[in-house]
């Protein structure tokens, strides 16, 4: 079973993403900010990261930049999810190492179809 790490400081968002992804057969873990995400991602390889931008302690850009520096860790794709829709924000997301940048609020099918695409699970 493929394992996805959902990183968001809002409990409701984590639960929403978890429900969508688990229903589609993925296994989901959660992290509340970029530091906790690093603590988890450096220990266990996930198949995909769903990353919020604005979070306390370490934001989504910071997490991805730091995570992408680790050449000893399996690098998996990351979907960045943000309330900010500006081109500047998107550019920052891609520069930090996101494979995809989506703007909140997310529709279940949107999250799921991109997840499948990035994981090569296209039916």
């Amino acid at each position: 079973m493929k394992h996805i790490l959902v990183i968001d400081d809002a409990a409701t968002v984590r639960l929403y993403h978890r429900n969508i992804l688990e229903t589609a057969g993925y296994s989901v873990s959660e992290a509340i900010n970029g530091i906790e995400a690093l603590e988890k991602a450096l220990v266990k390889s996930y198949d995909l990261y769903v990353v919020d931008v604005n979070m306390p302690k370490l934001d989504g850009y910071g997490f991805l930049k730091e995570f992408r520096r680790h050449e000893d860790i399996t690098q998996a794709p990351a979907i960045m999810v943000s309330t900010e829709a500006g081109t500047h924000d998107k550019a920052l997301g891609y520069a930090a190492g996101a494979n995809l940048y989506l703007t909140k609020p997310i529709k279940p099918n949107e999250l799921l179809s991109y997840t499948r695409l990035l994981l090569g699970d296209v039916a």
Binding site: A11, A31, I32, N33, G34, I35, E36, L38, E39, L42, V43, K57, L58, G62, E66
Partner: protein, 280 residues
């Protein structure tokens, strides 16, 4: 009188999320009985009417005292020799080697253990270095240990322990570094002389300021009891007390993700440890 207070599923979830956000500790459903029981204890102890009024008080109380009491009930804070031993393994197998590799002089390596409590942690570090680190032949190490409580420091300096406190020590070490005395175990003078104990209030910048150039700080199972602002400020004072490239070790149920963003997350085979960046 048996309790009439109940915790509903939704109460549990709400509490679980809040506690996770504050402490990083996750209670899944398998811990439900444990959590409910302790929550009900605290609801009764605070004479709250029900979960809702208790949760409301917990969340909005300015002092944060109730959250501290709750963390106390939900975690085991017992100190004994070789507690959380994996970190001492990390110290001798990974951290010290990295530190010595990057050192440019032969000055002593400085380790600070806070809080000292009754001394089990700093003495465990000393034993670990003597027994498990070959580098001790080559390097000097200073072990400092501080606490806010002068009585507990006196106890730590004395170094007399119960059987319970030494139960996780290998028998050979017990025989080598302790002798049986007055219904307990007295640590040897060599180790007593190896640790420098001092009193410090880590919340007070003017007191912490005297502590400098630390290579490694052990601060385990303390910050989890502090509120958000206090634990961040303490971590930032640690930052100032450390050399660039130095390491902070936290307790097993603690995470820097709830404390400060100034440190880098480092993964070693034995443990996750936090590092003051070299660039700074």
């Amino acid at each position: 009188m048996s309790s009439t207070i109940t915790i509903s599923d939704e109460d549990f979830l709400k509490f679980k999320e809040y506690f996770y956000r504050k402490t990083g500790i996750i209670f899944d459903y398998s811990k439900r009985y444990f959590v409910d029981k302790r929550l009900i204890e605290r609801i009764e102890a605070t004479e709250s009417e029900n979960f809702r009024s208790y949760f409301n008080m917990l969340r909005f109380e300015a002092s944060g005292n109730e959250l501290q009491s709750l963390v106390n009930t939900m975690t085991v804070n017992e100190t004994y020799f070789f507690r959380e031993e994996y970190q001492f393994k990390c110290l001798v197998n990974s951290l010290l080697d990295e530190i010595t590799r990057k050192k440019t002089d032969k000055s002593p390596i400085r380790i600070w253990s806070v809080p000292s409590s009754s001394g089990e942690e700093p003495y465990s570090i000393a034993i670990y270095l003597l027994e498990h680190w070959a580098g001790i032949e080559e390097w000097d190490v200073e072990i400092m240990s501080s606490d806010i409580d002068t009585e507990i420091i006196a106890q730590a300096k004395q170094g007399h322990y119960s059987a319970r406190s030494v139960q996780h020590l290998p028998k050979t070490f017990l025989a080598k570094y302790f002798h049986y005395q007055d219904d307990g175990y007295q640590i040897c003078d060599e180790l007593r002389a190896a640790v420098e104990f001092s009193r410090v209030n880590i919340m007070e910048p003017s007191e912490v300021r005297a502590y400098r150039n630390m290579d490694i700080i052990f601060c385990r199972n303390l910050l989890i009891y502090f509120d958000d602002a206090a634990r961040r400020q303490v971590a930032e004072m640690f930052f100032d007390a450390m050399k660039a490239g130095g390491f902070v070790c936290l307790g097993h149920s603690e995470s820097m993700s709830r404390i400060s963003s100034l440190f880098r997350v480092r993964k070693f085979p034995e443990a996750i440890v936090y590092q003051k960046p070299w660039e700074a």
